[in-house]
Symmetry: C2
Subunit: 272 residues, 2 copies
């Protein structure tokens, strides 16, 4: 038994979809979640800036002596995963590899769609991860910049959501994809609208769910399970904890009792 928590970070609240899935698949683990809401979104920032932010986020989580770090942000996983791995002597799970693996296993026609933020798509990280497993696979990526603000506004169904999904995704099935990766942790609340835009024959891979299954595998194979009866989750945010709480209802399906504000002087002053 290893009672140390699993440390999870994201640029904001999107990573709470990963928390929700970890809770479901590993119900006995204490969790610490850090959302960098003062600097959200990472998805339009440069790779260099994202690596600096990720290093600072991990530095914060280390004070809780975690047994495993989850980079619960596609943008940070695409831009900073190797950098994070080089900084800590702990297992580090990102959200790209698990989703890519599930997509490579699911595709029969070997044509996979990937949707995400501008930076994730521009990074080509999913393409590399999928073709590393299935060299003949073709990966077609689309940035969907309106999806994040839509979800944060609670617009996960209705006319606007359906029209935007149709505009972003309508061109993908004619290109032959049989599998679509939700390559942003903000997207799972839109899953039904996305499925409607794609039609019934396309399989959707939720990177948040696949990441939780990967965390489960690492915990179980490494003998790291805590197995607590009622493990806690501690939430930290660098800004606006009230907004964090409100949005947690969308992503986590529950409102945290408390979210601790990390003061910038506390957080940035000791950055690596």
């Amino acid at each position: 038994m290893d009672r140390r928590p699993i440390g999870i970070f994201d640029s904001g609240v999107g990573g709470l979809t990963v928390v929700k899935e970890i809770r479901e698949h590993l119900p006995g683990e204490p969790l610490v979640y850090f959302g960098d809401t003062a600097r959200v979104p990472y998805g339009i920032k440069s790779g260099e800036t994202i690596r600096r932010y990720a290093a600072e986020d991990v530095h914060f989580l280390l004070r809780f002596d975690p047994k495993l770090i989850v980079v619960a942000c596609n943008t940070a996983s695409a831009a900073a995963l190797d950098d994070v791995r080089s900084r800590v002597d702990l297992p580090v799970v990102g959200v790209i590899e698990p989703g890519a693996r599930a997509a490579a296993e699911a595709t029969e026609r070997e044509v996979v769609g990937v949707i995400g933020t501008e930076t994730t798509v521009a990074s080509g990280a999913y393409e590399r991860a999928i073709t590393a497993l299935k060299p003949a696979a073709r990966v077609i990526s689309r940035a969907c910049p309106l999806f994040v603000p839509m979800v944060e506004e609670g617009r996960v169904n209705g006319r606007v959501a359906r029209l935007v999904a149709a505009e972003y995704l309508g061109g993908l099935p004619p290109l032959g994809i049989d599998t679509l990766v939700l390559g942003c942790t903000h997207y799972p609340p839109l899953e039904s609208v996305i499925a409607e835009a794609l039609g019934p024959s396309i399989r959707i891979v939720d990177s948040a769910r696949e990441t939780a299954l990967e965390v489960k595998r690492v915990v179980e194979e490494g003998g790291l399970a805590a197995g607590e009866a009622e493990p806690g989750i501690d939430f930290f945010a660098t800004d606006n904890p009230e907004r964090f709480k409100r949005l947690a209802a969308v992503f986590l399906g529950a409102t945290p009792c408390s979210v601790t504000l990390v003061e910038p002087e506390d957080f940035f002053a000791e950055a690596p």
Copy 2:
């Protein structure tokens, strides 16, 4: 003649609509524009964080010895204008007061609509500024969170833009408004879609244009005009200058030849 530049800052690229209007109304002035693209958007952050960011942004501009500071960001004007004024011994023009004054003058029925980011609307800054001038006026505010990412994606017309505008704004004319303030510097590229959603009888006040007119008044009354034949504009951004250049085409109507990246260690290390 005063050859010092006008210093302008914004959380990102939206303030370029103010630059465009200043260029038009004061064509002889050298300008320095600072966009804090590493920390954009300010509109979902807390007042305390925004005041800290604004102080750092002004601190950067001061190295160019400006004769006037323009807070070309509604969110920062709402949350940090008094704070900025207390820090510098220069004229400081925000974007709220000029738009509020134009709206107070324009409204006949004394019912004014204001649209902006979540933080601007929650601050009540326009309501206070308008009722200070017209105490009987009623101000009806609406946050339009999708407008900023829509404009940044270049979606300033088309079905999505029209549907989103109709959903946000369709309820305002029945409430009796005769004037609508575009209370976010990102919104001017959407003006025709917004006008269509409101119908022909509503007057639209563009806070970017009104701010430029206010800057002109301060410059002329203070004897601060430079009156140069071909004054330059220097652009600085804290992240992703390539994206800045690309978006400048939308907001400024021109692509800057060069945008200088301000390195974080350079910028934050010397913060006040």
